[in-house]
Amino acid sequence: MTNVTFSGVTKRFGSVVALESLDLKIEAGEFVSLLGPSGSGKTTSLNLLAGLLPIDDGEIRIGEKVVNDLPPDKRDIAMVFQNYALYPHMTVFENIAFPLRARQRRTAEDEIVRRVDRVAGAMGIGDLLARYPKELSGGQQQRVALGRAMVRDPKVFLLDEPLSNLDARLRIRMRHDIKALHQSIKSTIVYVTHDQAEAMSMSSRIAVFNKGRLQQYGTPRQIYAEPVNQFVANFVGERETTFIDGRFVERGGMPTFEAGATAIPIAGARERFPAAMGRPVRLGVRAESVRLAQGSGALSATVTLSELSGPDQILYVRTADGTELCCRTDPATVVRPGETVPIEFVAGLLHAFDPATGDTLAKHS
């Protein structure tokens, strides 16, 4: 259980800057996700931390120790790979025992057996120890890979998209299992993923990357509810965020968002976006920021499609000026495509950005 610090860490591949001056402090025992699209620098950061790539500039510390020049095996880390990287010619037992046996200072054989048994028990793979990796399902291989990482009690766990080869259902279960594991072992975990749902559900904090730069670092709630810029707002959330350019004005005492010919009154907008009044604004709208209005006077929109999404219903609607929006409703609400429905925006779930810079205009706590 150790903290990890990136200070001004830069990595270039030829003339491409893969990671630019990253500053990131991960507290001891935290579960931090590095989230971003491919090429955003998240995997590069992990490989730099693991020592699989040399650092061009800056400094990485594990605990108090600068590890820039330490080879991977001297950093006291464990890593789980996307493809699990189990040794196909070794049994599950031998795979899990590998980190104990590979070290210079050997562990006594009965100690190895004891430790492998304990880890295998914790991962629920105690009855698979004699099998070979190819005889296991994807989920079981995943557990073996986690077991191999755990067996040595390393200072930091590095997980590189460990769930992306599993199907949707199993991924959700493993999300839970990994998080439960973290709670029991309380190690520092650095988790790389491109799947915002994974990061949101597991992390104590999330670092969002784009184009080699850290965009935002905060708790899942902060990232989701208070995105610092347009990229973060769009990247997290199940669906893409709809962005509408316009401006906030005062109309009859009510803050109103004007976009072209459309005027949308939004109660509470003044409190949420004090800096946004009277200037060009890009409004970010998620499915849950839109709801069917009860009364009248709201915006009206035509339903183009409805889809069931688990216990919810998502309505795709189009406003008079052609803007497409999603609207989350209860599945009990029966609406047919082609119907016109009144909709309204929920100020607290809206986001507003500067159209020029993409930075947020909301007042964040």
């Binding site: 991977p72 464990a78 990287a85 196909p88 010619h89």
Partner: protein
């Protein structure tokens, strides 16, 4: 009978015909060679030829051993064994270096390898003969082993390069994080997982070293260093065409190679068509 079934039946028949034709073409010469080697000398050139000899005899095989085929067999075994061993050793090192390090000039090296694989043996024979003569190794088994290793190293490097590239890099990263050195990774992770690739390239070298006539005929002059293919051609040349001993010696040379190949064919196929290891 429906259209579907009729077509399925036609397809099955076509398949069987193709399968049979391929097997026949493939195996006919060898079976005929075997049959010929078992015929008495006076019936070999009979027309029409018998497919199965009516009066089989082992006389040609006895004759081979009387005329001293043992020494060439031992020579061929020695040369083949060491050629395979050295090719695999150097091929593994070079192939791994090429597969894992993205260095400038790799494309050039690969091109050079391909170029060498394409060079006709006769062209190589002449300069290398001069070379060996200069260092005093012509007409020795050591010299022959060096030549076979050198000739087959490019294809070995290239097969192993292809195979190593199919191994997931993460296996090696994982082992290095857990404390292996680069050489340990090669020895304990890469090599054990490259069985099919090693077998495929080993068989290539083996076949070449065991069967080579062209190089050996240029390099070998004394009877003591004569290899098996040279011994076989002896029966073609020196005493006129002695069909019986000729086919018998060909069989002696052929059967072991075929047995080895069939024993390893599963690995050979998967070694050549890419790795079977999935992370």
């Amino acid at each position: 009978m429906t259209d579907w079934r009729a077509r399925a039946l036609q397809r099955r028949i076509a398949n069987a015909v193709i399968a049979f034709a391929i097997c026949a073409v493939a195996l006919f010469p060898i079976l005929w060679g075997l049959s010929t080697s078992l015929k008495p000398a006076n019936r070999i050139l009979e027309y029409p030829p018998e497919l199965i000899p009516s009066t089989p005899t082992l006389e040609h095989y006895f004759y081979l051993f009387e005329t001293g085929i043992t020494r060439p067999i031992v020579n061929s075994l020695i040369v083949s064994f060491f050629s395979v061993a050295f090719s695999l050793l150097f091929g593994t090192l070079a192939g791994y270096a090429l597969a894992r390090y993205d260095f400038r000039g790799r494309a050039g090296v690969m091109m050079a390898i391909v170029a060498v694989m394409s060079i006709p043996l006769p062209s190589l024979t002449v300069p290398t003969f001069i070379l060996l003569a200069l260092i005093g190794l012509n007409d020795t088994l050591v010299g022959l082993t060096i030549l076979y290793t050198a000739y087959q190293l490019p294809i070995t490097v290239w097969i192993l390069y292809g195979y190593f590239r199919t191994l997931p890099r993460e296996l090696e990263s994982a082992a290095m994080i857990d404390g292996y050195s680069r050489l340990q990774v090669l020895r304990k992770i890469v090599v054990p997982l490259s069985g099919p690739g090693l077998i495929a390239s080993g068989l290539f070298v083996l076949t070449f070293a065991w069967n080579d006539f062209v190089v050996a005929v240029a390099m070998v002059s004394s009877a003591e260093t004569r290899t098996l293919p040279l011994a076989i051609y002896n029966y073609l040349g020196f005493f006129g065409r002695e069909w019986g001993p000729l086919t018998a010696s060909a069989m002696v040379a052929t059967i072991p190679v075929i047995v080895v190949f069939l024993a390893f064919q599963r690995y050979f196929l998967s070694g050549m068509t890419g790795g079977s290891v999935k992370g």
